[in-house]
Symmetry: C2
Subunit: 578 residues, 2 copies
């Protein structure tokens, strides 16, 4: 029973806070939920539009995930729902498969969310959260910049009323320029006005409010209400002047009520096509979520469990899928709102879900005249903050290879799409890492006169013998560097024709994998063929225990010495300290 309770506690973090839930916290969480609900409405609608989905799908994707995260999540502040990157990746994954807005498209989006959830779930159960390390900082940062540019460019279509097509930034930009004449002036005026308004609100409103005596945190929250105000004003304008008859695209009738629960279409061919995008969405979404969660948790010295977060995000995506939504992740801006509004428990998220549900049930008719241009402007302003070209320069200055990885990710994402850009960025990061690790520091050693220390012969005035080669490798012997070690030893032996003994100092070796072991065997055999005895010195205990299980120690032509000094003095007694 106790074990069951422990497991339940491990996988259901709600059991930690729910029993201690107080009435006072309830009131606080309800207030937070009200604020966050209002802010999430434009966001949910906008990201649905970005993903090529009808408006109500954005609302659906903002209910179940919030509920599930309240049960399974370990962060007190993370808000899970549609976010920019995963919405764009959803578009990139499904646009080639089905016509935007069609039932097949909506079904594929739900299937994508299910697959993303299942992948996250498997990663969580197997504790494979470390796989997210593949997304190095240069890749994530480059992805942010490229996605920001691509989304901003894509939003020029609803924002200015210019039709454009194409899956990549390049194709879309070309199409935009070609169709520039088809601009709709009413749409453009609304779009550009909202962009300017949102920029002004974001830049100056908080400062203004603080000046007139409103508290800092409340000012911060109010300054984030810009999109809500813009939406209300534009709805009033469009319906008042009947601008939709002038070619201004509006959201139109949004179905009233809650989504019906259903599993997405089970179609193996479709799932197969969605597998790679789902994997990438899972990892990108997870990396984004965990970094936001950790940043917010540390502000209150709370703890976030990376493996449980995989499970939580998995349930959120599965929840989104069966309630007619699309892939979700923990969002930066929505979580900040949650945090700053003062969310004390994940219950605030659950109440927000309730709020969105009420909107879906009662308020969707109010959204009829909402112009797509206003939503486009909201996204446009939000994503431009993701674009950070300076990061390339700064990163390149610190680490050229990382700078190149970042630039490549950006260029390829813009030119060939998110999936190609991401895979290439990961590949380059890995290759560069492998390159660095494949050439560990190696020192040829000599004896410091009058001591029993051995030092690098290049940096110290030390005693050596033409009979003996002494070498130290400052790294574990793994497959990335195993062959390098073979080559270096071959070179050293070719350069010192009188050598009869080779002593490898193993003091810096923490592990030897199977490839490393094979290399040691080859080295031993080759040295033997060349008439040289191979010795080891200062082998760490666990390494020696491992080697004892193999035949390498029987094959070894030389001995294993406790210290390098013991080895050299045993081979050449003249080295003995007086």
């Amino acid at each position: 029973m106790n074990k069951v309770a422990l497991i339940a506690r491990r996988y259901l973090p709600i059991l930690e806070w729910a029993p201690q839930y107080k009435p006072q916290t309830l009131i606080n969480d309800l207030v937070v939920a009200l604020i966050v609900t209002i802010m999430l409405i434009p966001q949910s609608l906008a990201y649905a539009q970005l993903a090529g989905l009808p408006a109500e799908v954005g609302l659906y994707a903002s209910m179940a995930p919030l509920l599930f995260y309240a049960i399974f999540g370990t962060s007190r502040s993370l808000s899970v729902g549609p976010v920019a990157v995963t919405s764009l990746m959803t578009l990139a994954a499904i646009a080639p498969i089905a016509a935007q807005g069609s039932p097949e498209y909506i079904g594929a989006a739900a299937a994508l969310a299910l697959l993303t959830g299942l992948i996250l779930f498997v990663l969580g159960l197997l504790k494979l959260g470390f796989l997210s390390n593949f997304m190095s900082f240069p890749v994530m940062s480059g992805l942010g910049t490229a996605v920001g540019i691509q989304i901003a460019a894509g939003q020029l279509t609803p924002l200015l009323g210019i039709p454009a097509e194409g899956g990549t930034f390049l194709a879309q930009a070309t199409s935009l320029v070609k169709n520039a004449e088809q601009i709709n002036s009413y749409t453009a005026i609304i779009g550009i006005s909202v962009v300017v308004f949102l920029f002004l609100v974001r830049t100056y409103l908080a400062g203004l409010l603080i000046k007139i005596g409103i508290s800092k945190s409340l000012s911060g929250i109010l300054a984030k209400l810009g999109p809500v105000i813009a939406i209300i004003i534009t709805i009033v304008l469009v319906s008042g002047f009947n601008l939709n008859s002038q070619g201004v695209k509006i959201v139109g009738s949004v179905p009233k009520g809650l989504p019906s629960l259903a599993l997405p279409p089970f179609d193996l061919a479709l799932w197969n096509q969605l597998l790679t995008p789902a994997l990438l969405i899972a990892i990108v979404g997870y990396v984004a979520s965990i970094s936001v969660a950790q940043t917010l948790a540390s502000k209150k010295r709370q703890h976030v469990d990376p493996n449980q977060e995989l499970i939580a995000l998995a349930t959120c995506n599965i929840g989104a899928s069966i309630s007619g939504g699309f892939p979700v992740a923990g969002g930066f801006s929505r979580s900040i709102v949650n945090f700053e509004a003062g969310a004390e428990t994940p219950a605030a998220g659950a109440f927000t879900a309730l709020g969105i549900a009420l909107v879906a049930i009662f308020l969707t008719p109010l959204l009829y005249f909402l112009p797509s241009a206003a939503l486009g402007a909201t996204i446009f302003v939000a994503v431009l903050s993701m674009v950070n070209f300076k990061a390339i320069k700064i990163t390149y200055a610190y680490s050229p290879s990382d700078g190149i990885a970042m630039a490549t990710t950006i260029v390829l994402t813009l030119g060939l799409g998110v999936i190609v850009g991401l895979i290439a960025g990961i590949g380059i990061s890995l290759a560069m890492y492998l390159y660095r690790t494949s050439k560990p520091h190696v020192a040829i050693l000599g004896l410091m006169p009058g001591t029993n220390f051995f030092k690098n012969i290049e940096r110290n005035d030390v005693l050596t013998s033409t009979k003996i080669i002494s070498m130290r490798i400052d790294e574990s012997i793994y497959f990335p560097n195993a062959r390098f070690l073979e080559t270096r030893i071959n070179e050293m032996v070719a350069a010192q024709p009188q050598a009869q003994h080779f002593v490898l100092n193993c003091s810096a070796i923490n592990a030897i994998d199977a490839s490393g072991l094979e290399s040691l065997k080859s080295i031993n055999q080759r040295l033997k063929d060349g008439g040289i005895t191979f010795h080891l010195s200062e082998v760490k205990g666990p390494i020696l225990d491992g080697l004892k299980k193999t035949i390498f120690l029987n094959q070894l032509t030389g001995k294993i010495y406790l210290t390098h000094y013991d080895a050299v003095v045993d081979i050449a007694p003249s080295f003995k300290k007086e």
Copy 2:
């Protein structure tokens, strides 16, 4: 002029040995060439058959590569030509594209060789030989076993005269069993007899010859003549009894003369399809070549240059391509023959090319009655030595994750083909490596009483303070472990609520990449948010120089101390040693 000479010497190793070439060496090399030529004939024909190509293509692929390697190669013994793995990979790459033996098929094989050569050339110019490290020992060994099984099973078709189809081992094996009734008894008798003969020759002949007084090295060479003898006998038998009219498949008429030089078809769609196979053939071929070259070189304390070997292998493949051949690599058995026959310079290889050319010009009519069964038997016996199941057990015992990588490579290669198996094996090796590196050893430190040393609190009775967290990470901070470090520090801080200072001991950190730097920035910011000052101690010089170029040191809330003791005493003077 001097610089040109240096570059020429670097890229044209022939300039090293050719000027000192002596008449005596010439005679020796000619004898070696004669022996090797005889042995290469069945090999060349057999591997062409394995790759699904006409017999003459095997001869063509054995000329230009030998010539080019003599000019560009750095090994004195490596013999480059068709080998088992790359022949099978050629088959796997082209079989889905064109009908075996058709002009399109032959053209695609040449295009594949060109692409392989170009990829190797680029890798060589950019000194990207380290990419071959991706092929860890478990992957290469698993590949050898799987390829050995698959080729052996595939040769049952010519060997027994049973028709079979399918690109993977699984498909082929199923097809073989289904068609077992169609066995041709004459073919099967020839095939099985040759297999038995070759096994006996290989196992006993050398010993027998040594017993009757023939020198050990000559016996070794003669024992390798088994395939040649088998071919002569079976040709005589088939032509004498006219067995080809009984359904015994023969090589038939092989065009006389040298190949005409031509570029392979330039067809972007085709090249695109061949790119991944070409990359894998390039890397697999290179890894196989370099390890044979290094093994043989070390026996005579010669030096092999890994980057120049890329260039050399590139020219060999380009040479094979323009002379109507298919992808080539340095072969183990052919190089051993070369070495044991006593090749003193790469000129022996060039003379061998001449020998094969003479065969192509004058002797191809003799090959008319050569039964495919004899060639199949030759391959069958040769590749079975690549199969090594014991390696899985041994590797698993030493390193379970490496054992799993090996087993996966074998299973997936047999089930889904060489390309999928290789990619999966590489992926698993990388993931497991990343997993190991992503969790470096981390120690919380305390002061050894009465000293100024800090040791792991888990292993030593040390002094600590609730105000200070002291930590050491035993690894460079790279993207694979950067996020782990963030999480660990979050955990430590959550577990020690009274902490006001965090001191990171950097004595074991050799490098910090851009991801590591970002993590340090996050850690600093999060600690600051939680009211904790972040200090560094014992930072190595080059690391500090790098950090000085960034804004991290301005953001750092604490100080950088020369020693960990200095840091702790500065923060809590009560720790001071009396």
